[in-house]
Amino acid sequence: MIELKSISKTFKTKKGSFTALRDIDLTVNDGEIFGIIGLSGAGKSTLVRCINYLEKPTSGKVIIDGRELGSLKKKELLELRRNIGMIFQSFNLLEQRTVLKNVLFPLEIAGLEKDKAISKARELLELVGLSDKESSYPSQLSGGQKQRVAIARALASEPKYLLCDEATSALDPDTTRSILELIRRINRELGVTTVVITHDMKVIDSICDRVAVMDSSVVTEVGTVAEVFSDPKSETARKLILPELKLTDSVSGGQRIRLIFSGESSFTPVVSNLILSCGTPLNILYAKTKDIDGHAYGEMVLQLPDDERAAAKVKNYLEAHVQTYSVLDGGEDSVGNASKAVG
């Protein structure tokens, strides 16, 4: 278990001091994939570096499996880091070493016998699907392959934890998907507790169990992905979850509402029923839903008719049919308004 207790980090610069983290409390449970999402500059990279003390917090405690990192001797800290693998946005492979020797690197640090180390490294390259590349150099690999090597390297010391710092941000969508699948598989099969830092809601949505939302140095909300996704409480969360909505800010006309599908039956034609029974046209501004085993997950943004009576009818219908929705005003500050949840 990783426990962060009122972590703060202030950087001193020539122009004064800059607070990157303010009083952050988080717990990452064993076995889960925990996401930390925030816009760039929110402090999430600093936060993830506090977990392995690459960045030493100015105040607060980092406790891993009951051991407080600040109380450890230098050597103990180095040893503890072998239990926490880390991968990065820019892969950070040793450019002058072959793929195999990159994976061997942490085993050299751990002082493992050469024969054992080599067979371990080969095993890991097989796990990430790069057995045929062991004597290639990083410059000969694609971005996705580099990240796979980095993952194999991070897992070489058989860590209990894996930290992913924007690990898919430099990759194209297809590669991102396959790397995320790999991370999830490692989590499920090897039981590696994983912390994922990202600015991309899709990453959180596709692999995380729980998520913390960060904005300007603080954590604004924490919860299961389903909770935060269906009912984001903070403005940051809404911005991150509904980035496309900004595009529709200038749309004139009726009020907009956001329908949330968090596991209802996929077989109910919600929008069709709504239109038919209210007898009013609705405009779908945004939709992103998916079917998982017959249950619908996702969201849809609808624009209600200008006519207030018709709009009220729609809302009544939604409330009567236990459909979660929130009202997004048509004004400037559209995503910051109060939400109403039913059901």
């Binding site: 990065f88 492979l93 002058q96 690197f105 640090i109």
Partner: protein, 224 residues
């Protein structure tokens, strides 16, 4: 060919000069790296943004290197002759010249090494730290191997600089092509000898440059 040149060739003085230049350059470079490599790494590692910041040590090394770097070689050479006598027992000849060359070149080498090592990607260093590598291991397994191509290029530049210094050593009792061009050329108004020495020096520099760059290219895995 002038009579003088013919004589230098027949006596083997010219050939010896070439040999002395090459060997003074390489021996001096070897010892200069023995001192300069750790010094350069130390300058980089102890800097404020290094892997093991030690501000006071960094400041002292920085000032020391700057002092030696700012003294013109011809003056430094004369100034450190007593040191040469202390180390090799004489202040004359090639042995003494090697000592002066090492003292002059080591700070230069340190700066070359420092700039090469500074180029190593911070992210790679961070990755090594995240794996639990301590400073010593990061130096030997990450910084130096990853900087190798750049270090090789630096070594070529240093060799050429030391070769230039070694010619000056000819004025105070060192051997080599510098001595020949001064003693037999400049002082006896024989410009032909001077030009032959210049040409030979150019050839040696070209060979070092070409071979060094080829090694740097061949061993750089980023362009493999």
């Amino acid at each position: 060919m002038s009579e003088m040149l013919q004589k230098l060739w027949d006596n083997g003085i010219l050939l010896l000069g070439i040999w002395e230049t090459v060997y003074m350059t390489f021996i001096s470079a070897f010892f200069a790296y023995l001192l300069g490599l750790p010094l350069g790494v130390l300058l980089c590692v102890t800097a404020k943004d290094g892997i093991r910041p030690i501000p006071w040590l960094n400041r002292i090394l920085d000032i020391l290197v700057n002092i030696f770097r700012s003294i013109p070689f011809i003056i430094l050479m004369v100034a450190v002759l007593p040191a040469a006598k202390l180390i090799v027992g004489t202040s004359l000849g090639n042995k003494a010249m090697i000592v002066t060359l090492v003292i002059a070149a080591a700070p230069y080498v340190a700066r070359m090494v420092e700039s090469s090592v500074k180029e190593v990607d911070k992210g790679v260093i961070e990755a090594a730290q995240s794996m639990g590598a301590g400073p010593l291991r990061i130096i030997t397994r990450v910084l130096i191997p990853e900087a190798r191509p750049s270090l090789t290029v630096g070594a070529v530049i240093s060799l050429v600089t030391i070769l230039g210094y070694s010619a000056m050593a000819g004025t105070i009792g060192g051997g080599g092509l510098g001595m020949i061009s001064i003693t037999y050329g400049y002082q006896r108004f024989n410009s032909e000898v001077v030009w032959i020495c210049v040409a030979l020096t150019i050839i040696i520099v070209q060979l070092i440059q070409e071979a060094g760059m080829r090694i740097a290219r061949k061993t750089d895995r980023r362009s493999a």
